[in-house]
Point group: C2
Chain length 259, copies 2
């Protein structure tokens, strides 16, 4: 398929490479920043770098908007595409409706469920791709493209995608923050940063094999009030962490009342 | 070294195996439950199963108390060992002082920093072992034993071990709970349980390579109030999860004020 990328961030970069490797024609790359669009167009040679969102003259069937969530609306308001072209965004948190109103276009969502860093290669074949489209024919076209780069393609509507995004905030964003707090506590105690890594890895591995609620360990699930109170004392100069400790302890205990 | 195990749970089981494989003599196993002490003694053949905490007649130099935290005090009150023997517990949350008062014994702590499941083999060589002892000579003896099973042996006093345990509660116990909430949210949305696994694994891998605070992503760190409010609406029937969402969002934003 002939594809144009709108955006030059991590998603555009990795998705562009994966699509090109799967044999698609990357015809153009748009970014408002000249250096960015030229860098990505060069990587996706012979794609050309374009500096306008009037893309009506571009010979492509699929236009992929891979820009920050907050920018999708302004891109959607400005973009112009050839009649009948498919326009998708790649966001987990934005509805399909964010693209409605683009003249002559068929709207869809093409959401690769992964976090990308420019410096780190990714194996797209194991990354779930979640699709949504305004009609059956558009969905089918997107499925064909998605199947060329991933083995895990799902149709997920906007509400479910929002629920999924919420689940990801708990599993990834919040989890990352707790790992940050933990690292900070190690540093405050002058302990090596890496000391907990084997334990963290084993904890995650176990949580993948079972339902995490069934393999919960620690003072909260044991209702070990002495340890909990000592931990809260250690946190007395960090009241926000103390609140986080108390609330998560309460949430764990809510799932496993004292026997 | 001649070693006796007090306890027959996961820690006793894995530690006993690792010590035996390293060439130590496991001479006896105590547990109040006959089936448990006999099962572990059999695995650690020719160790014998013993049913009394009067261990004065046991020819061993090291007695390892690997029992639940809440049981350490009662074991310490009852145990009797040969004069000059070393007695250690294996707990991350209990002080060295929990063992003081055992007549004729030299007290220590031998804390393997990992979570164990009976059914899953472990590579002890990468598991940090944290040691503490009431005197230099005892510490040295424990270091010699620990070095035979692990490449990561650290001396950590009771206060630091408590701080480490607190850090582990955030990184492991609380993280596991968040993964459980996430899994529950996927189930409520009728989405596959495994959908987030590639994203979770990549998130953890990134958090290991950098300081997690520096690689934080998501609506909280972006101060994306629209998404945050939609998420809170989705959680309106789960007020405790709503509180967790709000507090962790606040904690993330506390680290990265709006630019």
């Amino acid at each position: 398929m002939k594809i144009t990328l709108i955006g030059s961030g991590n998603v555009a970069w990795h998705l562009g490479l994966a699509l090109q490797q799967a044999g698609h024609d990357l015809v153009a790359v748009y970014s408002p920043t000249a250096a960015h669009r030229e860098a990505l167009a060069k990587v996706l040679h012979p794609a050309k770098a374009v500096d306008s969102l009037d893309l009506r003259a571009i010979d492509a069937e699929l236009f992929v908007i891979a820009v920050p969530d907050a920018t999708i609306a302004s891109v959607a308001a400005a973009i112009q595409v050839p009649e009948g072209a498919i326009v998708v965004h790649t966001s987990g948190s934005q509805p399909l409706a964010a693209l409605q109103g683009i003249a002559d276009a068929r709207a869809g969502v093409f959401y690769p469920l992964q976090t990308f860093s420019k410096s780190k290669a990714v194996d797209f074949s194991t990354i779930p791709i979640l699709l949504e489209a305004e009609d059956e024919q558009t969905l089918k076209a997107l499925q064909e493209v998605a199947n060329t780069i991933s083995k895990e393609v799902h149709q997920v509507d906007s509400l479910k995608r929002k629920q999924l995004h919420l689940a990801a905030v708990f599993a990834c964003n919040f989890t990352n923050h707790l790992l940050g707090i933990s690292r900070q506590l190690l540093q405050q105690a002058a302990l090596p940063d890496t000391l907990l890594q084997p334990l963290i890895q084993e904890t995650i591995a176990k949580a993948m094999l079972s339902h995490p609620f069934q393999v919960q360990t620690g003072p909260a699930v044991r209702h070990d009030q002495n340890v909990i109170e000592e931990h809260l004392r250690l946190l007395q100069d960090q009241p926000l962490y103390q609140q986080v400790y108390q609330l998560l302890t309460q949430s764990i205990q809510d799932h496993s009342p004292r026997r």
